[in-house]
């Protein structure tokens, strides 16, 4: 068991454990903060997979953007004054049954499939390569996504805007 493996298990445990907290925590704020941990874990896994650029983006966008957004959402939709920012769960048992079975199936498919897995050299940096691809082969998608973000921004603003009356 090398260092690589230990680090992997560490990140994996952090990710899954914090995700369990996210979906089970009664307190929304707690959930949001443990989600922070999840994102960190995932980011670590990216690093282990040699995706350094992605790991950074993950932290920047998710932690810096999405999570903050979610927290704002929580605060705007709950009475901050009352400390009791709690939220219950429904249909826990069927969900557990269903998703347990579902996970089991996914897992068994995964193990039973003979992946043609080959290990490659971990590239030192991916930024250059990604940049090249983005500006050549995927330039159209890149532009479209830019427009999409713009539209989403305007749309979100227009939806959330208070009506005048």
């Amino acid at each position: 068991m090398g260092l690589y493996d230990i680090i992997f298990y560490l990140f994996a445990i952090i990710t899954i454990a914090s995700a369990v907290v996210v979906v089970n925590s009664k307190n929304i704020v707690h959930a949001a903060f443990s989600m922070l941990l999840t994102f960190f874990g995932v980011s670590g896994i990216y690093v282990l997979l040699g995706a350094d650029f992605l790991a950074v983006v993950q932290i920047m966008v998710y932690v810096g953007g999405i999570l903050i957004l979610l927290l704002f959402g929580v605060m705007l939709t709950n009475k901050i004054v009352s400390v009791d920012i709690r939220s219950g769960s429904i249909q826990v048992i069927p969900a557990i049954i269903a998703l347990g079975a579902f996970a089991a199936i996914l897992f068994s498919i995964m193990t039973s499939t003979n992946w043609k897995s080959e290990s490659f050299e971990i590239p030192t940096t991916t930024s250059v390569e990604l940049g090249n691809l983005l500006m050549s082969q995927y330039v159209l998608i890149f532009e479209l996504l830019a427009i999409l973000l713009l539209v989403a921004m305007i749309g979100a603003a227009s939806i959330a805007r208070r009506d005048k009356e």
Binding site: I90, Q91, V92, I93, P94, A95, A98, L99, A101, F102, I105, S108, I109, S112
Partner: protein, 700 residues
């Protein structure tokens, strides 16, 4: 004239009234005089039918003129081969005579109506309806196949419906129209089934083709029973249209229509179409079918005559008399007196039309008073109407020198011969009884209406003779009720051209085993050496003998009975030697029965009509509460499931509850409960569905 010219004339005659109908219908509102076009067109049609009749009865007297075309082509049908439906026309002697009768009476009624219907708010609509009626009636007359017969049969029903209900503001009128149409439809179903039987077996509707097949021994479904059934079922159509018992109920009610319509449709032409139909299919009637027809005819004529005795509405008396006379004709066809039945159809058309138009003239003069108890003494005021009415009455009573005498006498002789040959004596007995009753009630009508003193002075004072256009048809028709149009010898119709030359009984095509004994081909021994047994024989010598034997007894008996009826009528109503009221008092039950038409209407109403309506209501209830109830019940049940699951949700352990809710949701998947409105439940269901699919068809 060539054959083709004749056929073209026939087609022209057929479609002229339709043209008239279209023109009057579309322009009647804008131009008030459009009805004159219709009258002119009918007159033209009448002239053409005279031309055609002359040509046919001289040049082509023994030859039928045929024309047909393919209407629907089914191509090469699997298992059957080429299949098509043809329509066409056939002109034989019967046809041209009927064309003449229909067009003549139609023309006279058109002319008569100009005055009679004057001032009606739907005046031109009335003429349009007359046009379409004439068109449909001519179609029935001209057709060479049973499908086209049925088509025009229904169209006649339609025009009858429209004309009976012409004054639809009156509920009784629209009721009567509806009743007429529906009652006719009952009979038509029988006729329609025959169409199905014939087409299934012969793949053709043409009368001639079907008859030739039957005479070649190809029976429907290979059995004589079906042939008998076919005969009786076609007769059902005639029962409806010719108002035979038990479907006679519509005709008296049909008197709600304008009186000229009653004369045209419900006395002279349309109701005779039933008789014409039976005459057309006469050759395929088996002995059993003929017996049924004869019995129905006899019962109808007696039944209707008994009702006519006591009616007080002038048109109702005539209506029942029409039913009775139609029964006569049907009976005559049933006993095999084919030519006399048709003869009576023609003579009856003239004198009955005359009677109806005469009654119309009276009603018109009396300002729509129809009750004969309010009349009396009109003879002085309306002499032309009176004398024409009297001639027609004499004709219907069968008094010598009239046309009615000739036809009725021959017809009764036919029944007598039939009784002699088959032992069914009941039929001639009923026939003669009706002759007596007819004379009685017809003279009762004449005496109460025209003789004696006016019973309603006020109305009497306002009456006057009808205008010329109304009187003219009366004169024409009453003239036609005298013998010399038909035969030079006033006691023997056989010497004349009508029976002697024009109308011959056709050869029957049914197998020998299904015929009456007297209609079988004579055996060689009976004929002697010169006989040709292969030649189809209409009637055996037996029948000729019996007919000869029956001629004079029937004549004497009918004159006697007719005279007796007239005498009795004078005794009771003119000279008041016998009190009608006291007689009625004595046989009160019978009198009431007759007055109320033997309660047939009431019987039908309480059984068939309310039965059907009741069935409809109960099925509607069934539909609403049971069939739909099951559907809604299923929905309610699933909702109930969800409600129960909701209760569980509140009171029992959380996890267990959710499982139950899930189960109920799963049951609800089939119907309704799917709509919990909770997206998350849907997702769980989706996941489970995926799981199930995996387990069923997955790689495990």
């Amino acid at each position: 004239m060539s054959e083709l010219a004749n056929i073209n004339i026939a087609i022209l005659i057929l479609f002229l009234p339709l043209v008239g109908f279209t023109i009057v219908l579309f322009f009647g509102k804008r131009f008030s005089k459009v009805y004159l076009i219709e009258v002119a067109i009918i007159t033209l049609a009448f002239i053409l039918s005279l031309v055609l009749g002359y040509s046919k009865l001289t040049t082509y007297i023994n030859q039928d003129l045929l024309f047909s075309f393919t209407w629907i082509n089914f191509g090469n049908v699997p298992n059957i081969g080429p299949l098509h439906i043809d329509l066409g026309i056939k002109i034989d002697n019967l046809t041209v005579i009927m064309l003449f009768v229909v067009n003549l009476i139609s023309m006279l009624v058109h002319i008569y109506s100009i005055a009679y219907m004057n001032g009606d708010k739907r005046f031109s609509r009335y003429f349009a309806y007359l046009g379409i009626f004439t068109f449909s009636m001519l179609g029935i007359v001209l057709t060479d196949n049973i499908l086209m017969m049925y088509i025009f049969w229904e169209l006649v029903g339609l025009s009858s419906y429209l004309l009976i209900g012409f004054w639809y503001e009156k509920k009784s009128a629209s009721d009567a129209g509806k009743k007429a149409f529906l009652t006719n439809r009952i009979g038509d179903i029988g006729m329609f089934i025959v169409i199905l039987i014939l087409f299934t077996n012969y793949h053709s509707f043409s009368f001639d083709y079907i008859y030739s097949q039957i005479s070649n021994g190809v029976l429907p479904f290979g059995s004589e029973a079906w042939l008998t059934a076919a005969g009786i079922l076609v007769f059902m159509g005639a029962v409806g249209k010719s108002a035979q018992f038990p479907l006679h109920v519509w005709l008296p009610d049909a008197m709600e229509g304008p009186t000229p319509v009653s004369a045209l449709i419900h006395a002279a032409t349309m109701v005779a179409a039933g008789v014409y139909l039976v005459a057309r299919i006469f050759v395929m009637l088996t002995a059993d079918a003929m017996l049924v027809i004869a019995l129905v005819g006899a019962v109808t004529s007696l039944f209707a005559a008994t009702i006519a005795l006591t009616q007080n509405d002038i048109k109702k008396v005539l209506a029942y008399s029409t039913v009775s006379q139609l029964g006569y004709m049907v009976m005559a066809l049933g006993v095999g007196a084919y030519s006399f039945a048709f003869f009576h159809l023609v003579t009856h058309a003239f004198f009955k039309a005359c009677l109806f138009l005469g009654s119309g003239s009276v009603i018109h003069a009396m300002h729509h008073e129809q009750d004969i108890r309010q009349m009396g003494g009109l003879k002085k005021k309306m002499p032309v109407t009176y004398y024409s009415f009297l001639i027609a009455t004499l004709a219907i009573s069968g008094i010598p020198l009239t046309s009615g005498f000739l036809s009725k006498d021959g017809l009764l002789a036919g029944t007598l011969a039939f009784g002699e040959l088959t032992g069914h004596w009941l039929i001639p007995i009923m026939g003669f009884l009706v002759a007596f009753l007819t004379a009685f009630y017809m003279f009762r009508l004449v005496i109460l209406t025209f003789h004696g003193k006016p019973r309603n002075k006020e109305k009497y004072d306002h009456t006057h003779e009808s205008p010329f256009v109304m009187v003219l048809p009366l004169i024409v028709l009453s003239t036609l009720s005298i013998f010399f149009w038909y035969t030079p010898n006033p006691v023997s119709p056989q010497d004349g051209w009508f029976i002697g030359k024009w109308v011959q009984t056709p050869h029957t095509v049914v197998p020998e085993s299904a015929r009456f004994e007297f209609m079988k081909t004579d055996h060689v021994e009976e004929h002697g050496e010169t006989a040709e047994p292969e030649t189809p024989v209409v009637h055996s010598h037996m029948y000729e003998h019996a007919m000869h034997w029956a001629h004079y007894p029937a004549m004497i008996l009918s004159i006697l009975l007719g005279g007796l009826g007239i005498l009795l009528s004078f005794l009771m109503y003119q000279w008041k030697k016998i009190s009608a009221d006291k007689l009625a008092e004595k046989v009160k039950a019978l009198y009431n029965g007759s007055l109320n038409k033997w309660y047939v209407d009431e019987f039908y109403h309480s059984t068939f009509i309310s039965g059907t309506l009741g069935l409809g209501k109960s099925l509607s209830w069934f539909d609403k509460w049971i069939v739909d109830g099951i559907v809604n019940g299923t929905a309610t049940l699933t909702r109930l499931f969800s409600r129960i699951s909701g209760l569980f949700d509140t009171y029992i352990v959380d996890g267990f509850v959710n499982a139950t809710a899930f189960v109920s949701g799963f049951i609800g998947l089939n119907f309704k409960k799917l709509q919990t409105g909770k997206v998350q439940t849907y997702i769980v269901l989706v996941i489970f569905s995926i799981l199930i699919i995996f387990f069923i068809i997955g790689p495990f």
